[in-house]
């Protein structure tokens, strides 16, 4: 058995890297002696032959190593799962999950096996892991040596080492660029996969048009309720959640748009260079404050403040309200709106301003009657991006908006949003089978599609503005 300190990914990477460094020097001196003995100048600079050999040593081995590491976990889990199922034939899925977790803990020595069967399986489990680790060590080193041997045999003066290496790099760079595509595919497929599982158990119409959202509690008087495995599930009508999301976003825009827009107008049209240089970075600080800080401010200062105000006015307002969350979210979005609007306004060409002033407009008329109408599509784009941000924002609403799903337009009510529900449903124990966790993914894909559409529309609206001047 190879000691674990060597078989962990990090030290194995170091081992492979050192091997590659050695191979680099071997390759380099090999080409020197080869070209001397054959009396032939090598095609490329000699260090390229070293790099070529080292790359063949390191890269295939590291790929094998990473793949092995990533795949052994799920494979071992499958194997132990089948072992467990053999040992305890009549187990429900929750019990299986529990025992799997137990196995993990027994084999790492955290807990003692509760019975003999479990101990046997745990031993088998641990043995499997040791096997996998040893094999990982052996195989990745084997691959490294094979690569080195292959590359060194290839080395000869007429070989175009640099061209090959650069061709490889180019392909590698392409793969790096394609990670963006892979990420999108990852997002879409993971959201879609779980959502399809959700919709196979829950009616799509009930989800999108249902007016009752109570995923955690059994709810018997609504039609949007279903029964699976004898357990009464909650109901998942997302309209109240969507309504809450839109209410909070609306309040946020009510704060952010006027303040952001007027600030941008002042900065673009009235402020001196010096004022701009001070105010712009200051507003950027507002944009750099983490959302959890805004959430903290909303939940522990603004919310209670509104509640106390309501108390004096004789109203019973909860400390968690759409107004607190939306208002603070608006503050967060101000710099976003103001900097985008500033860009759009300053992009209105000089000639239009000259035209307006030349006919005798005041500066104010120039702004309100010529510059702003000209900038209108760009400004619309900025506002749409702001809305998309407000809808996707999580921490402020998690901390300050509340969790009660209700169809309301009253800003003083506590509401819940799509992001709050995703967090609520997925924190704590997460097993992928329950309808409750699957519904979070259905909410997730709704959120993704809505924000994506807003971004696309915003982009096309402001792009259309480009040809107007």
């Amino acid at each position: 058995m190879v000691p674990a300190t060597i078989t962990n990914v990090f030290s194995l990477t170091v081992v492979l890297f050192l091997t590659a460094v050695i191979v680099f020097f071997i390759g380099k001196s090999y080409i020197v002696s080869l070209s001397q003995s054959q009396g032939m100048r090598p095609h490329s600079l000699r260090h390229y032959y070293g790099i070529y050999a080292a790359a063949w040593t390191f890269i295939p081995a590291i790929i094998v190593l990473l793949m092995w590491t990533a795949l052994t976990q799920p494979v071992i889990a499958r194997l132990s799962q089948s072992l467990l199922l053999d040992a305890y034939p009549d187990m429900n899925s929750a019990m299986l999950q529990l025992r799997l977790a137990q196995l993990q803990n027994i084999s790492t020595g955290l807990i003692v096996a509760p019975d003999d069967t479990m101990r046997l399986i745990a031993d088998a489990h641990a043995e499997l892991r040791t096997y996998a680790n040893d094999l990982k060590f052996v195989i990745s080193l084997l691959v490294a040596f094979a690569g080195a041997g292959f590359a060194i045999r290839q080395i000869k003066p007429e070989q175009k080492a640099r061209i090959k290496w650069e061709g490889f790099l180019r392909r590698l760079f392409f793969v790096a660029a394609a990670v963006a595509i892979l990420t999108t595919i990852g997002i879409v497929s993971s959201l879609l996969f779980e959502s399809i599982r959700f919709f196979s158990q829950y009616s799509m119409i009930d989800f999108f048009f249902g007016t009752h959202w109570s995923p955690l509690k059994a709810f018997s008087s609504s039609g949007g309720q279903s029964e699976i495995d004898g357990v009464v599930q909650g109901s998942f009508g997302m309209l109240p959640v969507m309504a809450g999301t839109l209410l909070v976003a609306f309040i946020a825009m009510l704060v952010a748009v006027p303040i952001g827009l007027f600030a941008a107008i002042y900065m673009a049209e009235f402020a001196s260079e010096r004022t701009r240089n001070i105010v712009k970075p200051t507003l950027e600080v507002l944009a750099g404050v983490p959302t959890v800080v805004y959430g903290f401010f909303a939940a522990l200062t603004v919310g209670p403040f509104i509640r106390d105000l309501g108390f004096f006015a004789g109203m019973d307002i909860s400390a968690q309200s759409a107004l607190a969350a939306g208002g603070v979210m608006g503050i967060m979005i101000i710099p976003f709106i103001s900097s985008l609007s500033d860009d759009v306004i300053t992009a209105v060409p000089r000639s239009l301003r000259d035209g307006a002033l030349g006919i005798g407009s005041t500066r104010g008329e120039m702004i309100t009657k010529v510059v702003l109408p000209a900038a209108f599509p760009g400004l619309t784009g900025a506002f749409l991006l702001g809305i998309s941000r407000a809808i996707g924002e999580t921490m402020i609403v998690v901390m300050a908006a509340g969790v009660s799903a209700q169809l309301t337009a009253n800003p003083l009510d506590s509401v819940t949003t799509v992001t709050v529900q995703i967090v609520m449903l997925l924190t704590g124990d997460t097993e992928f089978d329950s309808l409750k966790t699957l519904s979070a993914f259905a909410l997730g894909i709704t959120l993704f599609v809505v924000t994506l559409m807003l971004n696309v529309v915003a982009l096309s609206v402001s792009r259309r503005a480009g040809g107007r001047y």
């Binding site: 590698l172 993971s190 996969f193 952001g260 982009l459």
Partner: protein
């Protein structure tokens, strides 16, 4: 004229033009009438802009003041002096050194509480004694044990400063109003009397809150610290940089130098731009479903957190890197190509070093954004209550912003104060990162 002229001539004005028909004086008078009003409107617009900026900056000031005024008191921690005689026989082994086994079995907390109660011989009755006990931290015994095990000479000391409970701490810092009716207070009237007695005996003091910077999370606010969260954040960011920076640089070089114009390249660009505006929580869902669900990676681990945040910050860094590559004049690339370098050599050996400061600046800004990110980390379970400082990237851990979230959700008033201080620490990190970026940008601005 050599070209045909389609000009049809000025058409006769058959209609009356009221403006043309006015005399010049009439016209000027008409304009002057409304002129003041027009200038007033312009001033109003300017004032509205000024008001908006003042409001926005005002919000910033209120936010910062609020956090500072709530947080600075957490730098201090109240302690109470208790006369304690440590029973050596129950702790020392035969060789006169501390016997860890015996020490572990010994009821340290009982000793502290008993010694504390000895200072108040008049207090009788179960409930009064419990209220008296509540003045001292629940962790006082544990911390006394740690101190003595670390420095056995302390065992001869007859009096010790131990932490008060968080409620006493809050009272001494003025965060609990004694004017409130007793029912609404966490410190009762009888406790106030005892605290007064302690104050008169000079048995209360406030010292620098070291535990806040050297401990990980705890159930007791007076023992809770941010070290675990800071280490967790550092690990997350390290993973983020290791993954995102090379990927971003390679992708940017590809897109700027090698990408053939066409559908695939366009598609990559569209994807990068769209990913930049996907809500962060969606990246959390991705991490949950793919990294945890499919690859069975460990929950709550900085490794996974770093991977998720790397994917999230990737577009930001790619966009910044491309901008700084593009800012390097093409003449430099052309010069390299002109002396016979390959495209790859020109990109890697000549353009990349010149673009490095810009790339670094973009990376720092992307990393600062990742440092403040909370929602995706919550999704992959980094929101757990963890009392140990993580030692590897696969250990369960939390991160600084998540720690703030956890604390601000807690009922104790003392956690409110501590999360404010944690926010101050987070903001200090963020501000220094941004200042570093600004400094780098200034330092390396346009050398050609």
């Amino acid at each position: 004229m050599s070209w045909p002229c389609p000009y049809l001539g000025v058409q006769e004005a058959v209609i009356s033009n009221p403006i043309k028909d006015m005399s010049a004086d009439e016209r000027l008078h008409l304009i002057s009438v409304s002129l003041n009003k027009r200038h007033r409107k312009e001033k109003q617009l300017k004032l509205a802009g000024l008001a908006a900026i003042t409001l926005a900056i005002g919000f910033l000031v209120v936010l910062m003041t609020n956090i500072f005024s709530n947080g600075y008191t957490a730098l201090l921690q109240s302690e109470v002096r208790i006369d304690i005689n440590v029973p050596k026989a129950e702790i020392l082994g035969a060789d006169g050194a501390i016997d860890i086994q015996k020490s572990q079995a010994f009821n340290w907390n009982g000793l502290v509480k008993k010694s504390f109660r000895a200072g108040f011989p008049d207090v009788k009755g179960m409930s009064d004694r419990r209220m008296l006990n509540d003045l001292v931290s629940e962790n006082a015994g544990y911390e006394l044990r740690q101190a003595i095990e670390k420095d056995p000479s302390l065992i001869d000391q007859s009096s010790f400063w131990v932490k008060t409970s968080d409620d006493v701490d809050m009272l001494l810092k003025g965060r609990i109003k004694t004017t409130l009716p007793e029912k609404l207070r966490r410190i009762k009237d009888s406790q106030l009397v005892w605290i007064n007695q302690l104050e008169q005996k000079n048995d209360l003091r406030k010292v620098f809150n070291t535990a806040f910077f050297t401990n990980a999370d705890s159930r007791e606010p007076e023992s809770a610290g941010i070290l675990g969260a800071i280490v967790g954040s550092a690990m997350v960011l390290m993973i983020t940089i290791i993954i995102a920076l090379p990927l971003a640089v390679m992708a940017a070089i590809y897109l700027e130098y090698f990408a053939p114009p066409g559908r695939l390249t366009d598609f990559i660009e569209v994807n990068i731009n769209n990913l930049a505006s996907v809500p962060s929580i969606v990246f959390g869902l991705l991490g949950l479903a793919i990294f945890l669900g499919f690859f069975n990676m460990p929950r709550s681990a900085p490794l996974v957190g770093g991977m998720v945040l790397a994917l999230m910050t990737l577009p930001t860094i790619i966009i910044a890197t491309r901008a700084s590559i593009r800012a390097v004049p093409t003449s430099i690339r052309d010069a390299a190509l002109g002396v016979g370098a390959s495209r790859m050599q020109a990109a890697l050996d000549h353009v990349l070093p010149l673009a490095a400061p810009g790339i670094l600046t973009g990376t720092i800004i992307g990393i600062a954004q990742a440092l403040g990110e909370t929602a995706p980390l919550i999704m992959i379970g980094m929101v757990a209550f963890i009392v140990d400082v993580p030692t590897s990237v696969t250990d369960p851990a939390t991160a600084l912003p998540v720690q703030i979230f956890i604390w601000s959700d807690s009922a104790e008033r003392a956690f409110y104060e501590r999360s404010s201080l944690a926010i101050m620490v987070l903001l200090i990190f963020l501000i220094s990162m941004n200042l570093l970026a600004v400094f780098l940008r200034k330092r390396f601005e346009k050398r050609w």
